[in-house]
Structure formats: C-alpha cells, structure tokens
Amino acid sequence: MAAELMRNLKNTPEVRRRKKFFLSHFWGEMLWSLVRGILVMGICYIIIYPLLIKLSSSMMTEKDMYDMLVKWIPRKLNYDSIVQNYKLLYGFMNYPRALFNSLVLATTVALLQMISASLIGYGFARFDFLGKNLFFVLVIMTLLVPPQMIMVPLFLNFRFFDFFGMMPVSVNLLGTYWPFILTSITGMGLRNGFFIYIMRQVFRGLPKSLEEAALVDGAGQLRTFFRIMIPGAASAMLVVFLFAFVWQYNDYQFTRMYLSNTATLLPFSLEQLTRAFDVERYSKEYISILNNTGMIMFIAPLLLLYAFLQRYFIESIERTGIVG
C-alpha cells in the first residue's frame, strides 16, 4: 500500500520538481560548506602562523637554521638543546621575578578597572540625572583622543604630583604603581572608556524588575548593586577583566613612562634581550632562536589564561549583551 503510494507520488511532475530542487539545494549546501571550511582554515592559519614559527624556531638548534630543508620541524628533536634554549632565557630575562611582577601589576590594574567600569557603567545605565548624555559623550571622547596627547602632561603630573596644588609639596609618583592605581580607579586607564561602554550596555540589558523588587523590599542602592546587579553581569565583568589584563600585560608605552624600562617586568626583560646578546658571542641564527624562545615565554602566560577563560569569553558573546 505504502509502496504503491510512493510510486504514485514519484511520477507526478510536482514531486520530480521538488526532488530536483532538493538535490540542487543539497549540492549547493555542500559546496558552500566546502568553501567555508577552506576559508575558515585559511584565516586560522594566518592567525596562528606567527605563533607556530616562533614555537618551531624555539625548538631548533643552530644547525637546523642553516639547513635549507628544515622549515618547520627540526631534523632531530633534541630535548636537551630545547631545555638549554629555555633555561638560558630563564636566567637572562630574570623570568620568575619579571613574570610575577607583570602578573601582579596586570591583575591589580584589571581588577580596579573592572570595578570602576562596573560602577560607572551602572550609573550611566540605570539613573537619570542632569547632563548624563554629556558625560557619556565625554567617556567616548577619552577614547577618541590619542593617548600620546596626554602622555607628556600625565608624566609631568605624576612626576610632580600635588593634585593641582592641593598638596603642600609635590611627590614623585613615578617608579611606583600609584599612577596605574589612580588612573584605573577613576576609569582613566588605557581604553577604560571601552570597558565603561561595555558595562553600560550589559547593565541596560538586565531586567529592571528584579532590581525594582529589591529596592521595594528595602535594599539600598549599593546593596541592590552588589547583590542583584553584579551577579547578573558577572560573565561580562570577567570579559572586561580579561581585556584589561591583557592590555596591561602587553602595554609598553605607559608602563615604560610610569616605571622606566629598568623595572623588572616582562616586556622590559624581553627588550633587554636585544642588548644582552651581542653578535660577537653568538651567531645571528642562534640569537634569532633565542629571541623566538623569549617571545614564546612572554606569550605563554596569556595563552594559558585564554585557554582557561575562552569558554566564558565566547559564551558571554553568545548570550549577547556585550554590545547591543
């Protein structure tokens, strides 16, 4: 019965037309997913390529560098020479100390920026007050002005810090973490306006009813903020933290200005490598291997952090909210 019905169906022109459509649709889909696969893989390759080059070079010996046939994988993966490469740099870069300092600085700055951006973002998202739009335009302004414009004045302000004459004697804050702390808690750190913008959007996206319920039940503004709003925005705050952390960790210009490049921090110890290895003692090729090893050691902590946090990062994008 059913088979007969099928045969009958098959013969009608309508079914034939549909089948044809289905098939062409199917092949179209297949073709597109093929093209898409190639595109995605190509782009991924371009992104990962510099990382791979560094990684493979850090595992080579000097001989491999001369060898024209060796491009990616060294002739012999010699465990000892790899360890030797890394060990040499471990000492040269003062790695444990520099890494520790860099992590402490980046964590401090990122935490402070996250807190200040949440507070300010919440203020913009939920309250109506005179001049709110004007203040928000000012937030965007702080982003649009090249940081170089305020670098020299900031340098002088922190060198002779007296809070616009409000303190009797000026203090030299350079060489301490105070410039970072002060600019971070006031939402003026590197690209802090961007974080304020993100947090404002996130808080605007949260439902108002929960907050109103808390207020009606007698919770104060601050309590509502910490108990109701913060948990709702946690994943976005984590993303802000990640951004702030990464930018501080990678930053060279401001960090050098505030601390000078003699501070034991990773970017400066990486910079010192160029001076530490002179061409008389080592061949150019070997210096190149060491430089690449140094860069891997600089990037590695960030890659680890990203590996742990990418889930939150991508999820918070999927749940929208980050920008809206």
């Binding site: 919440y122 203020g123 007050f129 709110k132 090249p146 990486l270």
Partner: protein
C-alpha cells in the same frame, strides 16, 4: 541606604544623586587625568618645555613647534601621510572582513567553537614589544626565512594581471593590492570588530528570520532586509573602535615617531604638536564617517 541629611528630596532627585555617586570616579578622573592634561598639552604645543629637577620650565614659542614638525623634521610629513592613508585603507577592509567573518562564524558548522577561539586569539597577541622583535628578527630580514613576502608578492602580481584584464579603474586596483599585502594585519585588527558584529548577529530575534522564510524570502533578501539593517548601528561602533585601536596598534609608525620625539629626543613640545595634528586628521575622518553613515543606520526601538 537612606540619605538622612537630605530628607526632603524626592525619589527622582535621590536617584539622580545616586547616579552622580556612581559615576563620580569618572568625573574625578576626567578632570584630573584627562581634562587637565589636555589643557596642558595645548599649552605645551605652543611652548618649549624643559624638565628640571624641581619642576618644568615653559618658554613661549608660538607656532614654532608645528613649523618644526612640518618643515624641519625629516620624517614627520612622510610618516604622517603614510599613516593617514593607511587608516583610510584599513578602515573599509577591516570593516568588510570582520562583517564577513562574523557572518561566517554565526553559521552552524563543525568546529565552530575552535574557529571562534582562534579568530579571537589576536585580541591577546597585540604586544607592541613582540611586534618590534618580529620585525627586527633576522628570520624575517636576513635569511628571508619567512617566505610569505615573496608569495604574497606573486599573488598580488597575478591579481594585478587579472584586474588589468578586467579593466578595473587604477585606483581600485591599487586599493586591492595594498589591501592584499596587508591581509595578516587586517585579520589581526579584526578580532574585536568580529566580536562586536557577532554579538549583534546573535541578538537578532529568530522570529524575524522565520517570518521571512514563511513569506518566501531568499537567503540573499533576508540578508539585505533583515541582517544588514539590524547590524548597521554596529558599523559606527566598529569604525570608532578601529580608529581607537590604531593609536596603540604596534606598527603605527607615526605613534613611534611621536613617542621618540618625546621620550627619545626630548622635544616634548614638538611631540605634542605632532599629536594635535594627528588628532585633527582623525577628527576629520570621524566627522566624515558620521556624516556619511549616520542617516543610513537603522535603530530598532527598545
């Protein structure tokens, strides 16, 4: 928390005060670490600044700093035009690429998660110091170990041939060529614009697409009538972001020059004057972009 010392305020005013309380860190920071420095930088641009142990000295020189930057400095004018052109080249390329990539990553396919993880990787790999090492590394310069330059070159050669055959206008050909050579840079600069577009794409209610499908709209029509208009406000956001990003992006030679003038050569006034000119150009570009786009953007009511 009740504000006891101000008992007669209405709820509205109380809320307004709380608003100021929440944004007060920004107001303090803006005045102390932004407005103050900006005013100072205007003053510095017209003065010769020398730093002493107990403070700094200013000597009024009028437009001399600007004149020095434009006339005397051997590199500024060249680097200045190059950087401006580079922004104009990058802006459309990054916008188009990131919009395309966001649409790609929004589709369902196997390994999408992995692809997203890798596409966002450039966000964390933006260290200027690493970039400086790369460009100074002998792998890239002496041995020609990295073969890409030649490969890209040959690609652009054959592409130029194709575009010539197609009789495209020369300026268009030139633009494509410049863009092709900068593909890795463009991809790296696109990471956050992709994030922004992607989250906007995810935010489009699926009911709209269902509706369109029922009405018989093709994928092409759906894209131009639904996806594109609803994502359009984010074009402005992204253009702003790309420009902001270019200030700190490694490889921005103008910023290197400005930094060198201040921290290397110690001519602070000239450095500030250069930055003001840079900012002027950026402001003009932004205003033009706004005039061009502001009317075409579609806002969905909240």
């Amino acid at each position: 928390m009740r504000i006891k010392f101000l008992p007669r305020f209405t709820l509205r005013r109380k809320r307004a005060i709380w608003g100021y309380v929440f944004i007060s860190p920004f107001i303090i920071g803006f005045i102390a670490f932004f407005l103050g420095p900006i005013v100072q930088s205007i003053i510095f641009a017209f003065n010769e600044l020398s730093i002493k142990a107990a403070g700094f000295d200013l000597k009024y020189v009028g437009w001399e700093n600007f004149r020095y930057a434009l006339r005397v400095d051997p590199d500024f004018l060249r680097v200045f035009t190059e950087t401006t052109v580079q922004i104009l080249v990058d802006l459309p390329a990054v916008i188009l690429f990131s919009f395309f990539a966001a649409n790609l990553l929004n589709q369902k396919f196997r390994g999408r998660w992995m692809a997203r993880v890798i596409f966002f990787l450039p966000v964390i790999l933006t260290a200027g110091i690493v970039y400086r090492f790369e460009s100074g590394d002998i792998l890239t310069d002496v041995l020609g170990y990295v073969p890409d330059e030649t490969e890209v070159f040959s690609v652009s050669q054959s592409m130029m041939g194709l575009l010539m055959v197609l009789r495209m206008p020369a300026s268009f050909t030139q633009y494509i060529l410049t863009a092709v050579e900068r593909v890795p840079d463009i991809i790296n600069a696109s990471a956050i614009p992709i994030v922004v577009f992607l989250s906007a794409l995810q935010g489009i209610p699926s009911s709209l697409y269902e509706c369109a499908a029922i009405e018989g709209a093709t994928g092409w029509e759906t894209f131009w009538k639904i996806t594109f208009p609803l994502v359009s406000p984010l074009f402005l956001t992204n253009i702003i972001y790309i420009i902001v990003d270019s200030f700190t992006r490694p490889g921005n030679t103008l910023v290197d020059l400005i930094n060198d003038a201040a921290w290397g050569r110690g001519i602070y006034g000239v450095s500030v004057a250069m930055t003001w000119m840079y900012f002027g150009v950026i402001a003009v570009i932004l205003v033009l972009v706004f005039l061009l786009l502001a009317r075409r953007v579609v806002y969905m009511e909240e």
